[in-house]
Symmetry: C2
Subunit: 187 residues, 2 copies
């Protein structure tokens, strides 16, 4: 069977679901986020795409700090909610319990098993979005989500988003080990 | 329980596993890739992080084109393999069947259910990696991986990578619908 061209938008790839935390006009604000990727190992850089119209975009430009929080599968509804209502019109500041690490404008969501605090490293202007590059200054997790001192994805229970079908998916079975399973193919 | 700071690298977020396709010295080359994110809707932009030492990095700078192919769970071993051996020392050009869309240096892997062809839109220099921003000029899929003319993740069967535990995971159950499940929380 032949591949056919279905245009430029219809590719359902699994994207990590996250909640962006910022301080907007001095108050915590949150936004659903799935357009996120690691960019560099040392220094540890993470990139996020945020529409230029969003309050979170203004907030990051002002404070040069943000958090990226990874919710568990139990948090699907509230994770979706923060993507439905704008921080310009709705006060989302008390939606979560929060704490802070080193940075003052990167609220860490206590309910999320895993939270990254980032300081702005670079700003890449796209057409309608900004790609903010953050340097990770701390990764925050509770011991109950770790095994032998290391965060355990089976306890964190993150989930992924696919578009344009707009569905959330849990993570399934472990099916292999990276930098290992391909060794058998070496000639 | 309190969050504790575990440093800046140990965050196991689910990242979409992909295979980067390029033309290196005129010949197809492939590389494992999971540091990838959507960046903009119109134009459709996708960003990928590639180490400056990799043959794929040189290739993209030369041809200004690349493909991003999403393998299925049946392809774990070969997907891992292309991340283990360098295109500088190993000829990976005949590892997959390939076809081409509009671009001449963006080999589409026939075995992968979903392939994007991209032309270079922007180049963001990081410390040890380059973040290549590609404009998606075509999304290629076979009808057997679609339902009602739309790519179906349950037929594509993509998988995700977590680090630093270096594990591959299949996608599990659908647990919700985006831009919908949070509506009940609107006051």
């Amino acid at each position: 069977m032949e591949k056919i061209n279905i245009g430029s938008q219809g590719f359902p790839i699994p994207m990590p679901m996250a909640i962006l935390g910022t301080h907007h006009n001095g108050s915590p604000n949150y936004m659903a986020l799935a357009w996120v990727a690691r960019m560099n190992f040392k220094p540890p850089l993470l990139g996020i795409a945020v529409n230029n119209k969003h309050a979170s975009n203004t907030a990051i430009r002002e404070t040069k700090e943000f958090s990226v929080n990874f919710p568990s599968t139990e948090m699907v509804k509230v994770s979706d909610y923060v993507g439905l209502v704008s921080g310009k019109r709705t006060d989302k500041s008390e939606l979560f319990d929060r704490c802070y690490g080193e940075l003052k404008a990167a609220p860490l969501i206590k309910e999320c098993p895993l939270s990254l605090e980032c300081k702005l490293y670079d700003t890449v202007e796209m057409a309608t979005n900004t790609f903010f590059v953050g340097e990770i200054v701390g990764t925050w997790c509770e011991e109950r989500f770790m095994t032998d001192g290391v965060p355990d994805i089976e306890k964190i229970k993150p989930f992924v988003l696919t578009m344009p079908d707009s569905r959330y998916w849990e993570i399934g079975r472990c099916i292999g080990h990276a930098w290992q399973d391909g060794k058998g193919l070496k000639s």
